[in-house]
């Protein structure tokens, strides 16, 4: 800058400053707004109570459409669906559910699956985002509260007395990223007091390090003092004392099984028999169902059932004599006579599109219900089957990638 230019600039600056002072002598008035208060009923409660059918209903988690579907057990039709989750655009991935019908509460785990979005920036167990346990009202499906859990919640189960909610974490990312370090590979169970979930800021639930990629959880009945956990990455069932918050033992699902992140059996599901004495375990790698005697805490190798396909969540009949096993690839459901050395009573292979990727079976009333994942893009299905013949009584569409169901009303 030349001296002349500099002097001129200083003069102009002085003029501007003085002008500003002059302006200050004729000040603009301060404007203060005063508004009337709104006198009406702002944001009135518009959610209507759900009218449940006399025959009862099941709720289905639609994990890729962020909805809960309600299916009439009398007509077999879906009669309602409600959004669930926290994020208004991304997929929260409601994964499995538990209900407390007496308390009118539903609990689901938000798993935030990593989805194939098609873009260069980009499944169950591979999330890097913390999950949540969320509670909803069974009366109108409003969301009442939530608490953060760990990444990749896998199963969510409620004790019979409704006082203990247990969430496992099927965290394959943790398992893979910490290969060779068993302690770091192991994921947790979160133990939640359901009564805290509706607090504005629920306390963080205590965790128990349990095993590599724990998935299904079965609670001892009726006390829920123990959890039997399918340890997918360790080929074992972890027996957890929930009161003492410690793992009592890890029982290999087969003799010599001792995987540390490289499973040869891959236990994924675990369903307790009605009398609470036998745990049926679906092993996804070895493609079989094995059984644990709860009284002796010993596997029953003579009862291991080869399933051809990959077993998912099986169902016991009310008398415990029949076990229904869903399998994927091939897509089928098997009826096994557990009272007579696992004789195959019936087998139903599904045609393409009939029940793609059956995930879970349950006896509800006089029907065997099977939740079919579908292709994870189009709606999945719930099939109502005859328990004896496995023929289809009814089919209804639900949301995308359904993966669990629970009964919410009506006489059993």
């Amino acid at each position: 800058m030349s001296p002349a230019t500099n002097a001129a600039s200083r003069a102009a600056g002085a003029l501007l400053g003085l002008a500003a002072l002059l302006v200050a002598c004729s000040p603009e008035p301060n404007v203060v707004h005063e508004y009337d208060a709104y006198a009406g009923d702002a944001f009135p409660d518009r959610l209507q109570p759900v009218t449940y059918p006399a025959a009862g209903a099941i709720v289905v988690t639609d994990s890729y459409s962020d909805t809960l579907s309600l299916v009439d057990l009398g007509t077999g039709e879906r009669f309602a669906s409600f959004p669930v989750g926290r994020d208004p655009v991304s997929i929260d991935g409601p994964h499995h559910l538990a209900v407390n019908v007496a308390a009118r509460r539903l609990f689901t785990a938000l798993s935030y699956p990593v989805l194939a979005t098609g873009g260069p920036h980009a499944s169950h167990g591979s999330s890097v985002q913390a999950g949540y346990a969320q509670v909803l009202s069974l009366d109108d499906f409003r969301i009442l509260g939530q608490v953060r859990v760990d990444n990749n919640p896998g199963d969510i189960v409620l004790s019979e007395d409704g006082k203990r909610l247990v969430v496992s974490h099927f965290d394959l990312v943790r398992a893979l990223e910490n290969a060779g370090d068993l302690d770091k590979q192991r994921a947790t169970l979160a133990i939640i007091d359901p009564s805290t979930l509706e607090q504005p800021v629920p306390p963080a639930p205590p965790r128990i390090d349990v095993c590599i990629a724990p998935h299904a959880v079965a609670l001892s009945r009726p006390d829920a003092a123990r959890a039997y956990v399918a340890c997918n990455g360790e080929d074992s069932i972890a027996v957890v004392d929930l009161d003492a918050a410690k793992v009592l033992e890890r029982i290999p699902v087969a003799a010599g099984a001792s995987a540390q992140g490289n499973p040869q059996y891959g236990p994924y599901s675990a369903v307790l028999s009605p009398d609470g004495k036998t745990l049926a375990i679906g092993n996804q790698v070895s493609r079989d169902v094995s059984f644990l005697d709860i009284e002796t805490m010993a596997m029953m190798p003579e009862r291991t059932l080869s399933t051809q396909g990959t077993p998912f969540f099986p169902a016991w009949s009310a008398d415990g004599n029949t076990l229904y096993v869903t399998t994927q690839t091939p897509n089928a459901v098997l009826a096994i006579d557990f009272s007579a050395d696992n004789a195959e009573l019936e087998r139903r292979d599904f045609a393409a599109g009939e029940c793609d990727l059956p995930h879970v079976a349950e006896i509800q009333g006089d029907a065997l219900l099977v939740v079919c994942e579908g292709d994870h893009v189009a709606p999945g299905r719930v099939l109502f089957l005859e328990p004896d013949t496995l023929t289809t009584r009814h089919t209804t569409e639900v949301g995308v990638y359904p993966d669990a169901m629970a009964r919410v009303g009506g006489a059993r």
Binding site: C25, V31, V32, Y35, D36, A37, L47, T117, P120
Partner: protein, 247 residues
């Protein structure tokens, strides 16, 4: 002459402290609807200096109020809608709180009894003849989870589409002139710089752009950008925008 002016100004300045310097206070009275409208148009509702967006940045009061293709639905009839955010939210206040949190960086939700919340409701009610008891259709809001390439477009048509859908936040293409906030990327240069060659092919750069437009700060992306639904910007118009930007 200049000196005289300066002297006069200096004299005036010396007199300055003698001015009655305290400005008068003018009280402007308004209704709750006025209050709600003011809040609707004011970024300060977010309670943070980091926010530059108002509700009105993304929502028009009435459909077709302008030629802009805004990401949010018009507010007319909003009280009677059965749900919001494409069916993923059933309660209006929660729907508003999503906007405040994701796009406007407010860290606390509005409570039903907050004066500001009630005033906003009053304004929205004024835009909803018949109020909450007159059902209206849900505003469509389709955000595809999986994105794919869009049809090749026309650059001249893209200029209009860009002006309608992008320019308000991003300013002029290539310069960013007139953008709402400095941190809004200059398009397409900043986006390309973040996805350099040879790490990304030309096709992948198109997909990056498409993914960001469709998903905004969701579905694995971050940032404050709202998703532009299929109803806000069709694949055809998005193809025109890409052609206009030379992608």
């Amino acid at each position: 002459m200049k000196r005289v002016l300066c002297t006069s100004l200096l004299g005036a300045a010396l007199l300055g402290p003698g001015c009655k310097g305290d400005p008068e206070t003018e009280v402007v009275h308004g209704t709750a609807v006025d209050h709600g409208k003011a809040l609707f148009e004011d970024p300060s509702i977010a309670n943070t200096s980091f926010n530059s967006y108002a509700c009105a940045s993304c929502h028009e009061p009435q459909a077709d109020d302008s030629e802009l293709a805004l990401p949010g639905a018009p507010m007319a009839g909003v009280l009677g809608r059965p749900d919001y955010w494409g069916g993923k939210e059933r309660e209006l206040l929660d729907a508003i709180d999503h906007c405040l949190y994701y796009f406007m960086l407010r860290d606390q939700p509005l409570a039903k009894d907050d004066e500001e919340a009630r005033a906003l409701y009053a304004y929205l009610e004024s835009l909803s003849p018949g109020g909450v008891d007159t059902p209206t259709d849900a505003a469509p809001f389709t955000v595809p989870v999986k994105v794919e390439d869009v049809p090749a477009g026309d650059a001249s048509a893209g200029a209009g589409a860009y002006a309608a859908a992008c320019a308000l936040c991003h300013g002029d293409a290539h310069t960013g002139s007139g953008r709402l906030v400095d941190r809004a990327p200059v398009l397409p240069e900043d986006s390309i710089a973040d996805h350099p060659s040879p790490g990304y092919s030309d096709a992948e750069r198109r997909l990056v752009f498409i993914e960001k437009v469709r998903h905004g700060g969701f579905l694995g992306y971050t940032g404050q950008m709202p998703p532009l639904s299929m109803e806000t910007l069709s694949d055809e118009d998005l193809g025109h925008v890409l052609a206009y930007l030379g992608l």
